[in-house]
Symmetry: C2
Subunit: 276 residues, 2 copies
């Protein structure tokens, strides 16, 4: 979502199932598949007789490279095969990605379970792959017959048409999530440490004391409920130590008025409320 290209300073993840594009029609889609693969560390791209040939010079190749948005290593490393049989020859397990039931009585897997199982078996040394058919027609029955299982995506039945790169993306996403866990691609910053309960309670007493003094808790019979609700709101914030200091400072300022006159930079004299 922010710029494009490979960042060689960040850890590179590789591996996963081979992505086999069977008779892809458009170079731009090959490029978009390469980009989706790079997002999830897949690095084995295989092409079975692309409609317009591969590699090619000129606009065709340029379109693929532009769509790959920096995942050039995948296009450079893509291997070309004349047949699906040749493309899957070294694989131990092959899925056929299809959007429809294909009447072949093959096991039908959803991406989460399929890639979970494949991640474990790939880690144990097997080679897996997924066949994706041409954009318009999908895999034909002979292609599907070469697979061990069908991979299909849990989509809105009324609008089940996923584009090629999106199907590759979901496959990569589930492989990556299974192989590396769902973790953010960056270090989550250190917040200030969570406040100790003692610190929070001391703040509550300070705040509630002033609220009591100013007649906030009315009628008095409601004070316990009002106080409980107020404290619960603060607990839901999961206050850090810094957060408690910020709140304390904010309440002091509300009680005391302006700290200084911005015009004269002179301190405005007020009754001082003791801070802890």
């Amino acid at each position: 979502m922010t710029g494009a290209g490979t960042d060689s300073t960040r850890p590179q993840r590789t591996g996963g199932p081979a992505i086999v594009l069977v008779r892809p029609q458009l170079a731009v889609n090959i490029g978009m598949c390469a980009r989706a693969m790079a997002n999830f560390g897949l690095d084995d791209l295989r092409l079975v007789s692309p409609r317009e040939g591969w590699p090619r010079t000129g606009a065709y190749r340029k379109g693929a490279y532009a769509a790959a948005a920096g995942a050039v290593h995948l296009l450079e490393g893509a291997r070309l095969f004349p047949t699906v049989e040749a493309a899957v020859a070294d694989l131990n397990f092959v899925y056929a990605a299809t959007a429809r039931e294909r009447g072949q009585a093959k096991p039908v897997h959803l991406p989460r379970e399929a890639m979970g199982a494949s991640a474990a078996r790939i880690a144990a040394g097997e080679k897996h792959g997924v066949l994706f058919g041409p954009e318009r027609t999908g895999l034909d029955n002979d292609d599907v017959a070469l697979a061990d299982a069908i991979l299909t995506f849990p989509v809105n039945p009324a609008y089940a048409s996923l584009n090629l790169a999106q199907a590759v993306l979901l496959t990569g996403y589930e492989y990556f999530s299974a192989a590396h866990g769902q973790v953010a691609p960056f270090e989550v910053i250190e917040r200030s440490p969570p406040a100790q309960r003692e610190m929070t309670l001391s703040f509550f007493e300070f705040l509630e004391g002033h609220l009591e003094e100013r007649g906030f808790f009315r009628p008095a019979s409601k004070r316990p409920v009002m106080q409980r609700n107020l404290r619960n709101m603060f607990h839901r914030m999961q206050l850090t130590q810094q957060d408690v200091r910020t709140w304390w400072g904010m309440i002091v300022r509300l009680l005391e008025g302006p700290r200084e006159n911005p015009q004269t930079r002179k301190r405005v004299k007020q009754k001082k409320t003791p801070a802890p």
Copy 2:
């Protein structure tokens, strides 16, 4: 992957979080987001000051509609807002989708946990939404400050750049999987019922009897191991009743030779092996 457009004969799924595209640059990306939303039944598209305006006639609008590949109802129903504040005014919980840590000490959620939680709370009547920033720069810090939490995607750290429609796609996928389960969008066809063990054992005895007679089990001391391996291979096939009949017919044919002469259509006389 096979054709495009809405199939009004299939169940339509709707609902889910609002997708808020903040200052999107390209109409084609708005269209691709609409398509990704339709794939997963999301139906609340909000646009905050698209760079080129909205709606528009001419090539801009045409590009969006072409990219939406039939998800026209989403483009027609998209609502335009002048600010992010206005776009999220009615929402109870807002995520900001970002690819980087934003230094705002907000909770960081991955799509699976986030959409799991949102699906439950949306089902209980809350309205949730996800902000997605402009293609090149992503959300700015003021946009992120309006959100309750950050949504980020578990990607290859060396290649973390997801395009806009792909980020929307993964969000929709996880919402749909949480709300409706990971289920295939078609009925898995009825296979023949699984074979009863009696039927399978009867086939094993038939096959092994002929193999024994023809001297397959050599040396005889290995017969128990060979037989066990053979039976295990068949068990792994999870044979249906039809499968067992097919195997039986195939073995009979191997034993007996051609059933008939294709030229003369006359039955070739052979020693008959009894079928069950």
